[in-house]
């Protein structure tokens, strides 16, 4: 399942509902992304996440479907926020549940790596000099390349 929302989410509640009643789950891999107060050498006050409604949901659904093709997942949830976020705020949540930990941990990493280069979100940082659009990181493209078959 995927969700794109401005609101915060409750990690404990999301995980509980993900695994509830499914006793075939042996492991859940999770990644939670937070807003840092340092981006490079500039202290940031906050950031605004812009996204492309419609395409964002579509890409996230495709990413989830690809993970489910590659690993035997019992459950999968991606939540990504948009709008203005402050340091310490949650940005993204990826959780994958499987019978075994390998599938859970690998698919979790796959999803966050893929999402970073495919899902149409853009970060605008508030810096002392005004707003600054974050540049795409080459390391993110390299991380995705690991998964390209």
């Amino acid at each position: 399942m995927i969700r794109v929302q401005a609101e915060d989410f409750d990690v404990g509640a999301e995980l509980a509902s993900l695994s509830e009643g499914n006793h075939g789950i042996g492991g859940i891999g999770v990644f939670v992304g937070l807003v840092r107060d340092m981006a490079g050498d500039d202290k940031i006050g906050a950031l605004t996440l812009e996204h492309y409604p419609g395409m964002t949901e579509r890409k996230l659904e495709e990413i989830e479907a690809e993970a489910r093709r590659r690993w035997p997942l019992e459950a999968c949830l991606i939540v990504h926020r948009y709008g203005r976020l402050e340091p310490g705020d949650r940005i993204v949540f990826v959780a994958t549940a499987s019978a075994h930990r390998d599938a859970a941990l690998e698919s979790c990493r796959f999803l966050i790596d893929w999402l970073k280069t495919e899902a149409p979100f853009w970060k605008l940082e508030e810096t002392p000099d005004g707003g600054k659009w974050v540049d795409a990181r080459d390391s993110d493209n390299k991380a995705k390349e690991r998964w390209v078959k």
Partner: protein, 83 residues
């Protein structure tokens, strides 16, 4: 066709979306971008480096040779930085 601009392409172009009716030689993403660059300094500046412009037609990433048709929703934006 409907054009959408995001992130710094939006701020440089100065507009989030518009409906356009390009000339008949605009048949692909590449010829669309070439035509857009003639529409003013904001467009020329925003689109000058094709290596940092991604294009999606009807929510799918496409390349320069992908056809564009009336009725398409075409989005132009920089490489994504979410997550």
């Amino acid at each position: 066709m409907k054009l959408l601009y995001f992130a710094w392409l939006r701020t440089r172009i100065g507009m989030a979306e518009e409906i356009v009716d390009p000339p008949s030689e605009v048949t692909t993403v590449g010829t669309l971008v070439d035509w857009l660059k003639t529409r003013g300094p904001g467009f020329a500046e925003a689109l000058k480096d094709p290596s940092v412009v991604r294009v999606a037609v009807n929510h799918d990433y496409v390349k320069a040779d992908h056809p564009v048709r009336p009725g398409d929703e075409i989005a132009l934006f920089p490489p994504v930085t979410g997550g």
